[in-house]
Symmetry: C2
Subunit: 330 residues, 2 copies
Amino acid sequence: RCFHFCKLPGRVMGIRLLRFTSVVIIVLLLVAGALTALLPTIKDDKLPNSRREPKTQSQSALDSFTLIMQTYNRTDLLLKLLNHYQAIPHLHKVIVVWNNIGEKTPEEMWNSLGPHPVPVVFKVQSVNRMRNRLQNFPDLETKAVLMMDDDTLVSAHDLAFAFSVWQQFPEHIVGFVPRKHISTPSGVYSYGSFELQNPGFGNGDQYSMVLIGAAFFHSGYLEDFQRQPEAVHALIDETQNCDDIAMNFLVAKHTGKPSGVFVKPVDIRNLEKDTNSGYSGMWHRAEHLLQRSYCVNKLVNIYDGMPLKYSNIMISQFGFPNYANHKNKM
Amino acid sequence: RCFHFCKLPGRVMGIRLLRFTSVVIIVLLLVAGALTALLPTIKDDKLPNSRREPKTQSQSALDSFTLIMQTYNRTDLLLKLLNHYQAIPHLHKVIVVWNNIGEKTPEEMWNSLGPHPVPVVFKVQSVNRMRNRLQNFPDLETKAVLMMDDDTLVSAHDLAFAFSVWQQFPEHIVGFVPRKHISTPSGVYSYGSFELQNPGFGNGDQYSMVLIGAAFFHSGYLEDFQRQPEAVHALIDETQNCDDIAMNFLVAKHTGKPSGVFVKPVDIRNLEKDTNSGYSGMWHRAEHLLQRSYCVNKLVNIYDGMPLKYSNIMISQFGFPNYANHKNKM
């Protein structure tokens, strides 16, 4: 029964009371133990605005972006670029828009060379269209899209910085290639780069577009694009060009502000000459630039006005690559 | 009476009706003439975002700024700078904060050398205090303030561009001199420029303050500053320093974002060595930088936390001075 443990209190309180007390004490200890297990863990003291550690499994939809890369007849460049881009910080997933109609994607080879840092999805297209890359892909889980041409290499440093800039300007196209339109006395617009005359607003030059072949923008604009007038889609199909100009019109109309924010790239390269396919991009066609001027004027007709606005803001990264790149002689 | 004019219609309609008809016609002609005079003049076809012509008399409160320049013992520099700054585009008025206690302002000489492009007001101070320039001057009519030290020369091009940047970021301090704080394992903060180690957020450097001695900011912040805890004013009076650090704390707290936007100046000069007064600025004092670190820590105590946030955005002007300054080798 009950040995010397029982002797003292047993004689005072009685065995029944003693058992009851023991049970109560044991229950309380169990409850205390359970409560301790449920206490919240002490939070890390975070510096304001500190960057979270990259999650190994998947990244939050706000802190990461999806790369959309359309490809035609340059699979060698595509694979070279995929090896580079698959490891960019904050990348969530890659969507390859496969415009090589009837040709097998390199998915098998891709899988055999795994594992890969992020998922890559090959979207097989039925028609080779420039605007295939502007579909509102169901695979998209992030707010941000990084769109890259399949012959353009931008350094990871530039991309990480530009992504952080996009997060501060999420309604704009934040990218590396600025262009402008100018107005002429006849009312007809012309399209070009810095060799074209300044629009004439004070010192220096202005840009009114940022090309989407090397830029971040909000994934919501893909849905917007699908909802644009049929004439816009027809124009892009007719020219197999100008999807980027159309996107800039869309964004400028939506925000009432300049569509793009230009981030000056430190290291951007065109790999076109490196391809074995012998295929050179659309911009080599004789009529390429004239087509783009044509598109600007057509879009002004379709939208019944010129929504593009000028900006002269050029953004660079403070203290990078040269830690004293902001120094002045004062 | 009525001669051959009357003969034909008179015989048909009667003289009374004829007179009535003539009167009606005359009245209609007069009314038509009056309406023509009241028609609105045809508006100029303005390009989106085009800059309005500068008004010769006074500029709109939104399109112009007030220069506030505090001065002590460097009247020769002050006058040299006034000649330069008085003609900056979009300048509305100059407020000179006269810290030369008991000394006459150069107002008479200034007036005798008129006319001047804008009004200049000399605010005579009773005590030589660093924070005199942060009063909410009733003379202020513009939303924007440009604050300049009395030994700093910034080119008109830089100022015009930085003003246009401020108009896009009106809640920030938009200026030419970035600084940072860093945190140490002991929890004590230190203040410095790029020679100080990076705060450690990715590549490159970061800044967390933009000094107000060469910057644009919203005039509302002057009123805010007056409403800050007495301990802040006492700190600035004790050190005769740190008013700019205090302003950055104020703005960061107000916006929850980095207080400043850094615009890289093309042409900024310190004229200190050019003065005949033999007076060199406060920043030459041995304890100047240590004082500023001290101020950072004191302000963290007063505000019970560190509100400053880091930024690595560096803004330059697209296509100026070099029209191809954004070009890349792609």
